[in-house]
Each structure stands twice: as structure tokens, then as C-alpha cells.
């Protein structure tokens, strides 16, 4: 080994504790880089899994393509496979009454999938097999009153709407046109409701039978979807707006070029989130790199100042500048070698463990078996090493140049620090307040500006990152809890639609009894369920003229309204009636207008309705009912009434010929200790049969809001976010602490002769302690003075984006003093009050002094080990 390297090695061994701290510091930086790289790799993998499971496994699709153009679009290089989706259309399953008369029955969407689509799309089967030919079909899970192998007669519309993969059109928009046709299908299986919903059926699309004017959606999956492929497809994209090209973002696109292009062109919501993710990644890597560079730079400078005498002596016997220069890089090589290896190992192990621990949270949150997976590749390791080596080289460069430049005499004398009086100037007040010990402490901080700044920067970075992260977590969790005020564990919402002239009316005993029986069945099946409230909405045509009402209602009853899409006459109008139980109605009243009193609506002789609208001269009336008006603006294009169940029943009893049409029904349930996922499944099964029970062409959509699961999901999201934010924070703080430890302890140790002199001059242990105390206090106070305002500023910025959304520019230019005061209160006082993580601030204030105090104590112990006399009589350390 070269003699200079031997000295370096000896020096590193001599200061083994500091060398270890430096290696650990480098290791933490590398571990952070590793975890960031692994996180992004895992995030892309996660996005791919998520996209594949929810949208389907394809990279891009062409929408609304005439069959004649399919070959042109699928003739692309590197294509793994493609599939075709025919136009989605409406289908009615025919059934026959006892007399053998055909009548309409259940309505579902009919989709046409080519062979590959069955495994490329996200639909899954709950039973049976996929259709093999155009005469086979799979039905929704809630149509299990049929059996696999049953033949069904259906009527369906031949032309429908082009669809995007994974999308599902609400079929109520359709009406049968002239292209109606009837067909017999054989049922081969049932679709899983969690992947395909409750209103979708799929049959086989034979590509060879497509006519040239049939439109299809062409989905493409590539072996390797690159930036070039993206550009190639973009060039192929048809010019017509109706036949556009879309990409399945997240399905394997990791090229930065692609992301940039998406940022520039893509109009989807992904644009915003990609921007955030990208910005976040850059910010993370920047913070890590800066913190690492500062730490490693600092470590080398310290080590060099200790070694400068040796280097000076070596120079005096003929060592060249380049030899000295190289010695610093040798040190970097040794420390870096250990640090990088350790960092990569710890980084992968740490992030792997984190992924493993949060896996159940992900699965619970998404209800899909998708989670962050750790993948290790040579490419990743090389990227990390390159980044780490780069930061180490940058950090070692300045100390290396310095060491090479330093004159021999200065090196031997170790006179590298040239003090000026101005540099160590302190105010007279300092001495008055803190005595000579305090003054010495403060002067010591100031004597080496760069080390002082590094320590301060490390402290400030840690504090700001810690407080802002805590504020962010607090802010997000507050937002989450605000958005999560649910009145019940589960809301079940039935959307009832009718096809053609079929509908459900309030007096439809069949439906009412079916609905009541279904509800009862659910509540009986699970004793843990409690019904909190019920709410129904009805639709009604009514007239200005009471005498005409009967006719209007009668006409509507016969289905004319829906068939003609017109009202009985020009004095007729459509209204909605929202019916609530009494308790719920009280809340509704409070929401609409605080001046309304519940007593005006209950226990009245005649039915009472609330109309959300202004009273006008040509008021429409409901026969036999009292209408109370509110002055709230009505944003609907028709009248909207509210009433209690009691009033509504009274109204129906008084007007037996009026048949309002039920459009939706919802109920809120509390589930107690029951498993929400199980209950959700039960509801789907029980209410699903309701759809199949109807034989009048009604289509009932079940929508379940599982608030409990959502709460768990958001809670999990909060935990996952906190794990990553605080994990990152812990690592950044570790780097900073290593930095502070290195700087402060070396600083003190380098001054051991001064402490010995002070002791020999009669400073006792108390006095020495006092100097350490004051140094700690001054460092801490200075760090807090800088970091607290910066943190405060960030706390103010975090919610700003949120609060500013409600204001236009006009508001800002027309401000009075009162407005300004209000704005100050709103944008400064409230955020400070609400989002300042006071607990974290207290912890920070406490921890700052601990973090400074510990290396001081360590260094003091080191000094104490040494003989005072030896320290004094040493020519230099």
C-alpha cells in the first residue's frame, strides 16, 4: 500500500468511531436512495397491476374503429395480442306469461368480446365458462335464477354505443330502435359482480363475421411498450374525434419522455397526478442528495483537518499535490465502499420489510390483491451506485482541492483556520447575560463559519422537514376526517329505471311487497344490522289546474309521458318528491333552511310538502296538500318537493288515482360489529334477486356505499402515507444527526487543548460544563430561529391551494380593510391554529437540544479521558 494511503487507513482506524459514524451516514444516504428507487419501481409495478386488474391488460386502444380498419391498426410490430370489443347495446330477457304471451322481462347491457378480450379485460367469472361462440352468453351474478346451460330468449338492439374497455354504459339511456332483433342464447356462466357490476352480460364476438361498417374498439397489448411504440401509435391514430386513440396509463409505460408528453398533451386527470408524483420524486432525490453531499463533505473536511499535519510533513519530504489529492479520494473510496454496500443492503431490507408490513393495509384498502412489491435488479443497483458515487465524488472534491493547495508550513502548523476579530465578535450583552463562559461558547460557534453553517443547515433541514411533514400528515388526516362524516356504516341505493312504457309506481303492490320483503329478509338474516333511515324519490307529472291533475296523472300512468317524452299539456310539469322518515326529514329541513320548523310538517290534518323554490303567481298545486315554500334557489329544472313518509302516505290515500313513479330507494344501515365486506355481499345477493324478480322491464341498479370500508381505506391510506413520510423523515434526520454528531464532536475534540488551558487557568468542571451548555443553547436557539419561521411558512402554504380555490381574482382586487383582516384571519390564523402540529413542535424543540447535547457529551467524555497536562504540553493535536 502506498504510504499516503497507509496514513489514511491508520487515521481512519484511529478515529474508528468517527469513521463508523461517517460510514453509517453514507449508508443511510444510500439506503434512502435505494428505497426511493425501489419505491418508484414498486409504484410503477403497482400502477401496472392496478391498471391491469381494474382496466384490463392492454397498453392502448383505438375507439370506434370501422371493421375495415382493424387490420391496419393491428399490423404493428412487437404486438403481443389484441382484442376487439363490439358496441355495447341493450338487451331484454324475454319471458312468457301463463297464457304463453311474450312479455318484457329483465334488462341488462349486452357486450360483445372477441376471444382474447375474455382474458385481456378485467371481467371475471364467478361461475361457469366464457362463451365460445355467438350463441353463448354470460349473465350478471344477480341473475342466478337461471342455471348454467339454460336457454334464454332475448330481444336486443343491434346498434349500440362504442365503449372504452372497462367502462359500463348506463343502459337507461337507450331505447329500442328499429334494429331490434331476437335471439336464443345458452348461458355458460355468471360474471363476478365485484369486477363487472350487476347489469352487464357478455357474448362472443366473431371477428370473421364483422361487416365493414360495424364499429369496434381495438385494444392492443405489446411485448414491451416503449416511448417509440407510443409515438408510432400516435402517428397511426385516426384523425376523427369519434375514432380516437387512448392509452392505458400505468400499464407499463415508464419512459420519462412519455411522462413529459403526457404532461404536455394529455387532458386526463393523470396529468395532474403524474405531475405531482414526478415533482415529489425530484424533490425527494434532491433533498437526499443535498443532505448526503453535505454530510460526506463535512466528514471529509473534518478528517482532512485532522490529517493536514501528516500531509504537510509528507509534502515537506516530497509528496506531490496530486498524491495529496488522491489521498482524499482514497478515503472516499474506503468509506464509500463500506457505506454503499451497507446502504444498498439495508435499503432493500428496510423497504422490503416496509412493503411486507403495509401489504395487509393495501389489500384491505383496495379490496384487490394488489400491493407494493419489492423488485431488485442489476439496473437498479447500478443506478444507486452511480448516484451514490456521484454524491461522494462531489463531496470529496472540495476537501481534496483544499488539501492539495495547502502550504506545507500551514499544514504543519495546522494554521488552516485564519481567524479575524470580526468573525468572532460578540455583543457586550452576551458577556453580561451569560458570563465569560457564554461568550466563549458563542465565539466558538463562530470561529469556523463553514462548520457552523453545516451544523445549522443540518439542524434546520431536520426541523423543517419534521414539522412540515407532521403538518402535512395532520392536514391530510383532518381533510380525510372532514370528508368522512358518514351518518351510517352502509348506504344502499336502488336506482329504478324503466324501459319503454314500463315503470314501477308507488301503488304497485308487487314491487312494494317485494321491496319490503327483501328489506325484511336482509334485516332478519343478519341480526347485527340496524336500519337508520329510509328515503324514496318519486316522479310525478302535475298540472297548474287541479282539475287537470287527474288527467295528467292518468295520462302519465298509462305511460304516455315516457313514450312521447312529452307532458300531457303545456300547463303540466314534472316534479320530484323526496320522502323521508321523520327523523331524517328534520335533518333535511335544517340543511335546506334553518328557519323551517319540523312542527309545521308533522301531525297536520292535510299532507304538507316543502317546495324548494320561490312562490310564484302561477303556482302548481298538489291536490289536497299544503305547500310550504323556501327561498332557497332551486337548481333543478323541475320542482322538487320534500315530505315525510306520513304526509306522503296521507297524500296517496287521499288521491288513489294518482300514481307517482318510484325512481330511487335508499336505506342507511348500521352494521355494528358485523364484517362490512360480508354484509355488502349479502346486500348484493339479496337485493340482486329483486332485479330478477321484476317481470315488467324495470331495471334496478344497486349501488352500495360502504362507508365503513371507505373509512378503513382512508385510514389505511393515512397510515401508509405516514409510514412513508415519517420513514423518509427518520432517514433524513439520521443523516442530519450523523452530520451534527460528526461536526460538533470533532469541533469539541479539536479544541481539547483550549479546554485544558482553561482548566489550568482555574476553570472548574462546572465552568467547562457551562461552556458546553451555552454552546448547545446557542446552536439550538439559532437553529430554531431559522427553522420555525420556515416551517410556519410551509404550514401556511399547505392549505392555501385548498382555500384559494373558492376565490376569483375579482374578490382579490375588491378588498376592504375588513376583508383584509378576515383574509389574514382565514389564511394565517386559522391554518396556524388548525394545522400547526404543536406536539411535533414541542418534540422538535426538545430534540434539537438533545441532538446537540449528545455529541457534546460524547466529545467531553473523550476529552476527559485525556490527561490535561498531555493536552497542554502537546505542541498541537
Amino acid at each position: 500500500m502506498k504510504v499516503i494511503n497507509k496514513i489514511v487507513t491508520a487515521q481512519l482506524k484511529k478515529n474508528i468511531k468517527r469513521s463508523i459514524v461517517t460510514v453509517l451516514g453514507i449508508a443511510v444516504s444510500v439506503a434512502m436512495l435505494t428505497s426511493v428507487v425501489a419505491c418508484f419501481k414498486a409504484a410503477f409495478g403497482f400502477a401496472k397491476d392496478f391498471t391491469t386488474q381494474t382496466n384490463g391488460s392492454y397498453n392502448a386502444y383505438f375507439y370506434n374503429v370501422p371493421a375495415s380498419q382493424i387490420a391496419h391498426l393491428t399490423d404493428v410490430k412487437d404486438l403481443d395480442k389484441y382484442c376487439l370489443l363490439g358496441e355495447e347495446t341493450i338487451m331484454v330477457i324475454n319471458s312468457f306469461d301463463q297464457a304463453g304471451q311474450e312479455k318484457h322481462s329483465q334488462v341488462v347491457d349486452l357486450n360483445f368480446y372477441s376471444k382474447n378480450a375474455f382474458n385481456m379485460m378485467s371481467d371475471k367469472l364467478s361461475a361457469g365458462t366464457w362463451p365460445q361462440n355467438e350463441l353463448e352468453i354470460v349473465l350478471p351474478e344477480n341473475f342466478k335464477k337461471y342455471k348454467i346451460g339454460d336457454q334464454i330468449s332475448v330481444t336486443y338492439e343491434k346498434s349500440g354505443y362504442a365503449i372504452s374497455p372497462g367502462a359500463h354504459t348506463n343502459y337507461v339511456e337507450y331505447k329500442f330502435g328499429e334494429n331490434k332483433q331476437t335471439k336464443i342464447f345458452k348461458i355458460t356462466g355468471f360474471l363476478d359482480s365485484s369486477s363487472s357490476g350487476t347489469g352487464k352480460s357478455i357474448t362472443y364476438l366473431d371477428e370473421s363475421t364483422l361487416e365493414s361498417n360495424n364499429n369496434v374498439t381495438v385494444c392492443l397489448l405489446f411485448n414491451d411498450f416503449s416511448w417509440e411504440k407510443y409515438k408510432e401509435l400516435s402517428a397511426l391514430s385516426p384523425e376523427s374525434i369519434h375514432q380516437h386513440l387512448m392509452f392505458n396509463l400505468g400499464s407499463g409505460i415508464v419512459s420519462p419522455d412519455f411522462i413529459i408528453d403526457v404532461l404536455k398533451n394529455d387532458e386526463t386527470y393523470m396529468r395532474y397526478s403524474t405531475k405531482i408524483v414526478l415533482g415529489f420524486a425530484i424533490l425527494l432525490v434532491a433533498i437526499i442528495t443535498i443532505a448526503s453531499v453535505v454530510m460526506i463533505y463535512n466528514a471529509f473536511t473534518i478528517s482532512l483537518s485532522e490529517r493536514s499535519k501528516y500531509l504537510g510533513i509528507l509534502s515537506s519530504v516530497g509528496a506531490t499535490k496530486s498524491q495529496k489529492f488522491k489521498s482524499v479520494f482514497f478515503e472516499a473510496f474506503v468509506l464509500g465502499g463500506f457505506g454503499i454496500a451497507l446502504g444498498i443492503l439495508v435499503g432493500f431490507a428496510g423497504i422490503g420489510t416496509t412493503f411486507y408490513l403495509i401489504r395487509p393495509l393495501f389489500v384491505e384498502m383496495l379490496n384487490l390483491s394488489i400491493y407494493l412489491k419489492l423488485s431488485v435488479s442489476l439496473q437498479m443497483i447500478c443506478t444507486i451506485i452511480v448516484l451514490a458515487v456521484f454524491s461522494i465524488l462531489i463531496s470529496a472534491l472540495i476537501p481534496a482541492i483544499k488539501s492539495a493547495k495547502q502550504s506545507i508550513i500551514n499544514s504543519i502548523k495546522q494554521a488552516d483556520i485564519k481567524l479575524t476579530k470580526k468573525q468572532v465578535k460578540t455583543s457586550k450583552l452576551t458577556r453580561k447575560l451569560f458570563g465569560i463562559e457564554g461568550e466563549l461558547g458563542l465565539k466558538n460557534l463562530k470561529r469556523n463559519k463553514s462548520k457552523y453553517r453545516v451544523t445549522l443547515l443540518s439542524l434546520v433541514t431536520s426541523i423543517v422537514v419534521f414539522i412540515s411533514a407532521s403538518a402535512l400528515v395532520k392536514f391530510v388526516s383532518q381533510r380525510i376526517s372532514i370528508n368522512n362524516v358518514a351518518t351510517a356504516d352502509i348506504n344502499v341505493h336502488l336506482n329504478i329505471n324503466s324501459l319503454d312504457n314500463f315503470y314501477i309506481n308507488a301503488n304497485n303492490d308487487d314491487f312494494a311487497s317485494n321491496l319490503a320483503a327483501t328489506k325484511k329478509e336482509l334485516l332478519n338474516k343478519n341480526s347485527k344490522l340496524t336500519l337508520i333511515s329510509e328515503h324514496s324519490t318519486y316522479m310525478l307529472a302535475y298540472s297548474q289546474d287541479i282539475s287537470e291533475n287527474k288527467a295528467a296523472f292518468a295520462k302519465q300512468f298509462s305511460g304516455i309521458y315516457y313514450e312521447d317524452n312529452s307532458l300531457p299539456n303545456e300547463r303540466s310539469r314534472i316534479c320530484d318528491i323526496s320522502v323521508y322518515d321523520e327523523k331524517h326529514f328534520k335533518d333535511v329541513l335544517a340543511d335546506i333552511d334553518q328557519n323551517l320548523k319540523i312542527d309545521d310538517f308533522v301531525n297536520q290534518k292535510q299532507p304538507v310538502f316543502l317546495l324548494d323554490g320561490v312562490k310564484t303567481t302561477d303556482n302548481f298545486k298538489l291536490p289536497g296538500a299544503k305547500i310550504i315554500y323556501t327561498n332557497q334557489s332551486n337548481s333543478y329544472d323541475h320542482d322538487y318537493f320534500y315530505c315525510t313518509t306520513e304526509s306522503f302516505n296521507k297524500f296517496l290515500q287521499q288521491n288513489t288515482d294518482i300514481k307517482p313513479m318510484l325512481t330511487s330507494y335508499s336505506l342507511d344501515l348500521n352494521i355494528g360489529q358485523a364484517d362490512d365486506k360480508k354484509v355488502e355481499k349479502e346486500i348484493n345477493e339479496i337485493f340482486g334477486t329483486l332485479n330478477a324478480k321484476q317481470e315488467n322491464g324495470e331495471a334496478i341498479y344497486i349501488h352500495i356505499n360502504n362507508n365503513k370500508a371507505e373509512l378503513v381505506a382512508t385510514k389505511n391510506l393515512g397510515i401508509i402515507m405516514a409510514v412513508f413520510i415519517f420513514g423518509f423523515l427518520a432517514l433524513i434526520s439520521l443523516i442530519c444527526v450523523a452530520n451534527i454528531f460528526n461536526t460538533i464532536s470533532t469541533n469539541v475534540i479539536l479544541r481539547r487543548r483550549e479546554f485544558a488551558v482553561l482548566k489550568s487557568l482555574g476553570v472548574d468542571e462546572k465552568g467547562i460544563k457551562k461552556i458546553f451548555y451555552y454552546e448547545t443553547i446557542f446552536y439550538g436557539i439559532k437553529a430554531l430561529i431559522y427553522s420555525l419561521p420556515i416551517s410556519l411558512l410551509i404550514i401556511l402554504i399547505i392549505p392555501l391551494n385548498y382555500t384559494l380555490q373558492n376565490h376569483s381574482l375579482n374578490d382579490i382586487f375588491n378588498l376592504s380593510l375588513k376583508d383584509i383582516m378576515q383574509a389574514l384571519y382565514k389564511y394565517i390564523c386559522i391554518p396556524i391554529k388548525e394545522f400547526t402540529p404543536w406536539g411535533s413542535v414541542l418534540i422538535v424543540v426538545f430534540m434539537v437540544f438533545i441532538v446537540i447535547w449528545v455529541p457534546m457529551i460524547y466529545a467531553r467524555k473523550e476529552i476527559e479521558k485525556e490527561d490535561v497536562i498531555e493536552a497542554i504540553t502537546k505542541e498541537n493535536i
Binding site: 466563549l440 463562530k446 483550549e754 488551558v757 482555574g762
Partner: protein, 226 residues
């Protein structure tokens, strides 16, 4: 009248077979106002003796009385106060505090003791030391000779009863050496301060009232010259 009285003083490093006697059963006394030079070969134990006298180090056995008080019986805080008030120490390598100015370095023992600084006395001191124009400088802005004068000033300024100097001229040229010794001697005469000085320089030793020669931790010769 004795100001320093040393009785059976020993300082042993190590134990058993490895025991090294830096000082081996030394006894002597020094009168108030006496100028004593301690000479001896390197490693003979003279610096150890000086440090024990200054309360910086503690003996293995024996007693040291300064002004009638056994300093070996003092606890650390009492010893620190003793050093602050009774002793002025001068080192070969000056050992000034780099962040303090010349003025602050000289005043340091008083400042540590929270005592008022007499500005007239300070001016007299810096005039006496010949560094009146350098009082606002930092140590690194001074030459070696000037730094040692500051160190002398620091040792004398609190008017200690005893000044201990460990080879104060070891790092200086002959002109500066002569001047520093002259300063110490003058102060010794003027303020009747006791001065105990370690030196290798025979010429300096010859200026003392008494020369104690130490060899292998023992007093080999104690010669009173005047």
C-alpha cells in the same frame, strides 16, 4: 517564610513491575519572593513537579502546601479556584485561547473569577509587556514572542502569589527569550512574586536565586546562589 512546602512527594505511573517513578519522595520548600530555576534532563520529572505545584496534576503520595494550605486535600472545584487565584501558569507553546483578543486573554483569570478589571492596571501591564498596541488582536495575528508576552501577562495579571513557567522560552529566539525572562524577573522583584521556572537554558538558570536539579525523579542538587 515558606510559600511552597513539598513533603515526600511521589508521582508514579503504572503499577507493579511497570511502575515508573516520575517523582520519587521529593521534599523541599521555597520562600516567598524566591526565584527558583528547575533544571534536569528530559523526562527527569521537572514538568510533573511543576504541574503538581500548579494544582493541574495530583501526586501519588506526599503533600504540597501553598501558603500553608495542603492543595492535595482540595476537591476539584476548590483546586480550580486555587489555580485561578494563586497560580500563574506559563507554557512553552503559549496556549492562548484563539477566539479571544489579547486583552481578553490577559484578563481571562479575572473574568473567570467574575472580578472587575482595573483598566489602569491593564494598561500598565500591556505597556510593561510591550504589547500596548496589540490588545485588540487575536493570537493568530501575533508573532511567537508576542504571544508568549500575552501568556506572561495572563499569568501575572491576577497578581498570583506564585508564577510557574514551563520552559517559557523553549519556542523563542534568544532576543525574545531574554526579554521574556527579564519580564518575569522584574515582576518577581517588583511584586515579590514567587517564580518557579523550568528551563534547559543554562544562562537563564544562572539568573535564578536557586537552582534545583532533578534527576530520575529525585533532587540531585539544590544550589542556593544568593
Amino acid at each position: 517564610m515558606n510559600i511552597v512546602k513539598v513533603e515526600h512527594l511521589s508521582k508514579v505511573y503504572g503499577k507493579g513491575e511497570n511502575a515508573v517513578y516520575a517523582l520519587n519522595d521529593i521534599s523541599f520548600s521555597v520562600d516567598r519572593g524566591e526565584f527558583v530555576a528547575i533544571v534536569g534532563a528530559s523526562g527527569s520529572g521537572k514538568s510533573t513537579l511543576l504541574h503538581i505545584l500548579g494544582g493541574v496534576d495530583r501526586p501519588t503520595s506526599g503533600k504540597v502546601f501553598i501558603d500553608g494550605e495542603d492543595i492535595c486535600a482540595l476537591n476539584d472545584t476548590q483546586l480550580a479556584i486555587f489555580r485561578r487565584r494563586q497560580v500563574g501558569l506559563i507554557y512553552q507553546f503559549y496556549n492562548l485561547i484563539p477566539v479571544l483578543t489579547v486583552k481578553e486573554n490577559i484578563e481571562l483569570p479575572l473574568l473567570l473569577d467574575n472580578r472587575q478589571v482595573d483598566e489602569t492596571q491593564f494598561k500598565e501591564m500591556v505597556n510593561y509587556l510591550g504589547i500596548a498596541d496589540k490588545t485588540e488582536y487575536l493570537p493568530n495575528q501575533l508573532s511567537g514572542g508576542q504571544q508568549q508576552r500575552v501568556s506572561v501577562g495572563r499569568a501575572l495579571f491576577a497578581a498570583p502569589s506564585i508564577v510557574l513557567a514551563d520552559e517559557p522560552t523553549g519556542n523563542l529566539d534568544s532576543k525574545n527569550s531574554a526579554e521574556v525572562v527579564k519580564l518575569l524577573k522584574d515582576s518577581n522583584k517588583k511584586h515579590k512574586q514567587t517564580l518557579i521556572l523550568i528551563t534547559h537554558n543554562e544562562q537563564i538558570a544562572m539568573q535564578a536565586d536557586r537552582i534545583i536539579t532533578i534527576t530520575d525523579g529525585k533532587i540531585a542538587n539544590d544550589e542556593v546562589r544568593r
